[in-house]
Symmetry: C2
Subunit: 210 residues, 2 copies
C-alpha cells in the first residue's frame, strides 16, 4: 500500500503513529510529497499519480489495491479494524463513542492548527487577523476540554490519545503556544507519551519545498 | 439528546438525514443555532450553553447524558452503531472500508463547499479568488470521482449515499454549479434519492441571523 506523507502534517503523523503502534510499518510504502507555501490558496505541487489517486488532493492518502482512503479518519478506522483487531478504538459501544468524543475535540484542534497555518501563509493583504484569533481561541478551548479528560485516559495509547498527542506536538512545533500552563495534567501526560518510539520517530519537520 | 442544528449546514443535514433514515427522530431535541455572517472569520453568535457543550463551537454537536460529539463523523458513527445496528455503514470489513472511501470524497466536497462559503463571506480586501478557485476545482474533481462510483452504489440509501446526496444538494442550493453535465449518472441517481422524505424535509435554507 502507498501512503502519501509529509513530516509537517499532523493528520499524516496521526496515521503514521497509528501504523507504528500497530507494528505494521512493513505493509506501507511511504511516498514523500512536496508542497510550496502557496498550497494555502492554490492547487500546486501535485504530481499526476497523486491527483489520479485522490481527487481531494490532500494528505494523508492511502492507496490500496482495492480502494483509496483520502483522510486520516477513514485511514485510521481502516488500520484499526483491518490490522489492529480494534485495539486502538473499540468496534462499538460506549467506549467507542467516548473515544470518538475525545477524537473530535483533538481533531478540532488539528483542523484549527492547519487552518491557522494556511492563513499565515496567505499574502499580507489577504490575511485575516480575526480568523487567526478565532482559530487560536478554538485551539485553547479544546486544550482546556482535553485537560478535563486526562483523568479518564486509559493505560493504552489508543486513537484518542494518539490524536491528542499529535495536536500537542504540532502546537509546540509550529506555534509554541503556552497550552501547558492552563493544562498541567495534559502537559504531564504528553511529556510521558511523547517519549514513545512512535512519537519520537515522527517528530514534525518542514515539508520539502516543491 | 440535544442536537445543535441549522438548515444551512450540510454537515448538520448529513446527521439529520441519518436520524430520519434510522427512524429515531423522537430521540432528539433539535436546537436551532444562529450565526451572523461574520462567523467566517470571528467567534460569534455563541450562547453559553453551546460553548459549554462544545469547545469546538461548531455544528452539528450532539449532547447526550454521557458524552458530547462535536462533528458529523463521530455523530453518524454513533447513530449508526447505537441505534441502527450498523445498517447505514457496516461494522467492519471491505464493505465498510469502501464506503469510507466514498464518504471521504463526498466529505471532501462538503469541506470545500464550507471553506468556499467562508471565503465568500470575508471582506472584499481579505478574499482570495485563488482560494475560491482551489475549492471549486476540488469540488469538481470529487464530483467526477463520485460519478465513477455510482455503478457500485447499492440499493440502500446508506451513509456514503447520504453524504454524497447532501454534497449534491448543497452545491445546487448554494452555488448552482453545473456538476450534472460532467456527472450524468450521479445526477440521475441524485434526482431519484432527493425525493426521499428524509431529503425533502431537510432541504437547505439560510441560517437565521443572530
Amino acid at each position: 500500500m502507498r501512503l502519501y506523507v509529509t513530516p509537517a502534517s499532523p493528520w499524516v503523523r496521526r496515521v503514521v503513529v497509528t501504523i507504528l503502534e500497530l507494528g505494521i510499518r512493513d505493509h506501507f510504502e511511504f511516498v514523500q510529497t512536496r508542497w510550496p507555501h502557496s498550497w494555502a490558496t492554490r492547487m500546486t505541487g501535485i504530481n499526476p499519480a497523486f491527483i489520479e489517486a485522490t481527487p481531494v488532493a490532500r494528505i494523508p492518502a492511502l492507496v490500496t489495491d482495492d480502494f483509496t482512503l483520502t483522510d486520516s479518519h477513514s485511514i485510521c478506522d481502516y488500520l484499526n479494524g483491518a490490522f489492529g483487531d480494534f485495539r486502538l478504538l473499540p468496534r462499538e459501544g460506549a467506549a467507542r463513542w467516548r473515544a470518538l468524543a475525545d477524537i473530535a475535540v483533538a481533531g478540532g484542534i488539528i483542523e484549527a492548527q492547519i487552518s491557522r497555518r494556511a492563513e499565515l501563509l496567505r499574502s499580507d493583504s489577504e490575511r485575516s487577523s480575526d480568523f487567526i484569533g478565532k482559530m487560536r481561541d478554538r485551539q485553547l478551548r479544546c486544550f482546556a476540554a482535553l485537560e478535563k479528560q486526562v483523568p479518564s485516559f486509559g493505560a493504552d495509547f489508543d486513537l484518542a490519545q494518539i490524536t491528542t498527542a499529535v495536536a500537542c506536538g504540532y502546537e509546540d512545533w509550529r506555534y509554541g503556544t503556552d497550552w501547558r500552563g492552563p493544562a498541567p495534567r495534559l502537559a504531564a501526560w504528553y511529556d510521558a507519551v511523547s517519549q514513545r518510539p512512535s512519537m519520537r520517530t515522527t517528530e514534525p519537520a518542514e515539508t520539502p519545498q516543491a
